[in-house]
Symmetry: C2
Subunit: 455 residues, 2 copies
């Protein structure tokens, strides 16, 4: 946890944006796996972590923005619970760690809220338990719009201590990625390597920020199946990241050859993706919009694919019509913090766009999660990719979609190529950007070097 | 999955117990980790797995016990979903695998149920999402008591193919336990070993049946903290098990010395626990009650502790009054199957007791989850243990509880002993019992032998 002052200051800053109201922040409760007392691994709510840092089950936080008082609701363990589950610190001690001046048992929560005359504010919920609690407490009353905007504004700008936490947390992620490269070889199973890298994170007490993508079918963007055996000549795409001890995410992708050596065609596509990322980095500074960065990167993709004979026509026109999205169907990146898609539960448009109207409905560009002007303190992913998606190719070809820009005949020989994505996490500084975490092999030479040592 | 016939037969057998009614069985849906689209690892509902075996998200099953028809409700993926998440088999194919003759989209579920005039039966739910769905569909109407009893009767008797699945699934669990012993040494961290054994299970595509207990504080019965560094002279207790590919649990405990050699005091307590388990095994055959086995084991504990000067008085009296529960505060075991505490969500008393009135409220015995007469086909855990729980010792001593049976003075020197538990999983056969899965080092010689090879 950060110091009590950090959490006090965060709550104070939030309170100043909500005049004379009550903010209710429910913590997460355990989720049963297959019967009531067998639980899935606990993950505290990110907003709860942000405003009080307490990584324990069954807590609730109430802030009175008028008086500035906060009250932590929670229950100390009974002797029976201590015998079975072991001790945990008292609610009083928790309140102390988070700089909270009042604490009460959960049974008083409803009564406490009913005594309040002010408007009660709460955030959108993503789990059924918390939705039910909110329904039960407020029965549809209450207002949240101001609160959502205030929380997004506050969490969007990462402080120095948050950056240090993310930077240090990424040491485990970097080692996970190197381990994956070292374990990769023809005949190995995807599942084996996935288990070993998740186990590596777990052995440091870390959980994964999101389910691992590790596949020779890199063109399936959120592929969470690991049923393939790796074959020489294939590429494997590893998109995975561990949380920091305080649950800040990391989100890294590397793509590398199963046999440790890129072939000529793989090198050509890899170079284009690498250049896409390089150009994106150069674009990243305060005042620049991430939508422009995305479109710039799309034009690099078209130029590269033209040079390989896979696309044709005028670059600007191809990008304007969205023809590149056959190969680059997702956005350039997203905000990252306590959530890997930071604050997505509060509303992706509110986090990533100045105005909801700005969001395109064009295939590809529609998936861009972050479009607005970059500010110092933003932490985001930069993750260009190029994919050969048989399902999508067939659909577009049948529809003769973007025939002027795509050489469908030439494309046939790439159907089994898979996909390449390269992803890093950056902080926007006053001058430009800085890549977070320790370096992870990325150039063809670096990757082939690491994997050669292995053979 | 088993063959379509297996699931058809299970549904047929169940239908025969419910005359002319509708059985509604909701499958599990993904649970968000920290925002709607970032999910915790999916676990299908055990009853759903039992009656149709389909390990996919967002399915629902309706059985008409009058006609014998079943309908699978679910939705095929859109092209957009396939691009992002990859393909999965169609609902039609799923229905085929489970021997289900009808399939329809989820949007028809509510309408379909409303056309039914028969009583609708459903099981108790443990997640908020399914509780809400049931509330919304039936608004409190419907009946479940017959259904609960029928399902428990059916799932309690494991078939030959289920036993094979459990047996084979335990190969990974056995290797996990041996790996833990090989990794254990002074200076190692609990967290490191926990991560490595979970990673080992994951690398075989297995998930854990319940959160690992791996601790030098073995006396904390359900301890899920891993913050200690292992020290020479300590014992470490490892209670962990992987699920089989079809999600059958295993539940194994071994306790072993951090430095690979039991000291004299540890040997003495270990021998008692080993004898407790040995006597329990001898008791396990059809017609014997597991409550009697528990009490027999308690008397072995008292005899052993008397020989060490920790207890005194008449054995039968000590057991009758529950004095042994200071050292052996939990039950001898529980049913195991698709849930590690099998069917606990349907009602522990209904699973483990012939009559609810039979359950004791005495500390210790009250925690016995399985008490009734054993039948061929029952799969259960046999898990005696002896613990030195400072919190509990202090409480009893202050209350002068069972002063006639416990030598509190002598006990002082054992305060930091920790705890020992030995746990295996057995099937009740016509003649007696058989231990499931491959052997895992258990005797002092076997454990010291394996850990010596390591040093």
């Amino acid at each position: 946890m950060f110091s009590p002052d950090t959490y006090q200051n965060r709550r104070k800053a939030l309170s100043e944006t909500i005049e004379d109201g009550i903010i209710f922040l429910p913590g997460n409760i355990p989720v049963p796996m297959n019967y009531p007392s067998n639980h899935l691994r606990f993950r505290q709510d990110s907003n709860f972590l942000y405003f009080c840092g307490l990584d324990f089950t069954n807590l609730n936080l109430v802030m009175d923005t008028g008086s500035g008082d906060s009250t932590l609701f929670g229950d100390d363990l009974t002797v029976d619970e201590i015998v079975w589950e072991g001790d945990r610190i008292s609610i009083k001690e928790m309140a102390g760690l988070a700089g909270i001046n009042h604490f009460r048992p959960n049974k008083d929560l409803s009564k406490h809220l009913k005594t309040k005359k002010q408007t009660i504010h709460y955030l959108p919920q993503y789990r059924a338990d918390q939705k039910n609690l909110i329904d039960q407490l407020f029965n549809g009353k209450g207002s949240s719009k101001n609160l959502i905007q205030s929380v997004i504004r506050q969490r969007s700008i990462k402080t120095e201590e948050e950056i240090i936490e993310i930077d240090q947390g990424m040491v485990v992620t970097a080692e996970m990625h190197k381990l994956a490269m070292l374990l990769t070889r023809p005949g190995a199973k995807e599942q084996t390597i996935v288990g070993q890298i998740e186990g590596f994170a777990l052995s440091y007490g870390r959980r994964l920020a999101y389910p691992v993508i590790f596949s020779v079918r890199g063109e399936i963007l959120h592929n969470n199946e690991y049923n393939n055996t790796l074959e020489s000549g294939q590429l494997v795409l590893n998109d995975s990241g561990a949380e920091s001890p305080m649950h800040y995410a990391s989100d890294i992708t590397r793509t590398f050859p199963v046999n440790g050596k890129f072939n000529k065609r793989q090198k050509a596509i890899y170079h284009i993706v690498n250049e896409m990322q390089f150009e994106a980095f150069n674009y990243c500074k305060p005042g620049k919009s991430y939508k422009d960065a995305h479109l710039k990167v799309a034009s690099i993709a078209v130029e590269g694919l033209k040079s390989l004979g896979l696309m044709k026509g005028k670059v600007e026109d191809a990008v304007a019509t969205g023809a590149h999205a056959l190969f680059f169907p997702h956005g350039l990146g997203h905000m990252m913090g306590l959530d890997v898609h930071d604050m997505e539960g509060l509303g992706e448009d509110l986090v990533g766009y100045d105005d909801k109207k700005d969001r395109s409905d064009q295939f590809g560009l529609a998936y861009l999660r972050l479009a607005k002007e970059l500010e110092p303190g933003f932490v985001l992913t930069v993750e260009p990719g190029l994919y050969f998606i048989p399902h999508l190719i067939d659909q577009w070809k049948a529809d003769k979609k973007n025939n002027d820009f795509i050489n469908y005949d030439k494309l046939d020989s790439y159907r089994d190529f898979g996909g390449i994505r390269i992803e890093d996490n950056i902080i926007i500084t006053n001058e430009g950007y800085r890549i977070l975490g320790p370096p992870i092999p990325k150039t063809i030479d670096e990757i082939e070097g690491l994997m050669e040592d292995n053979a």
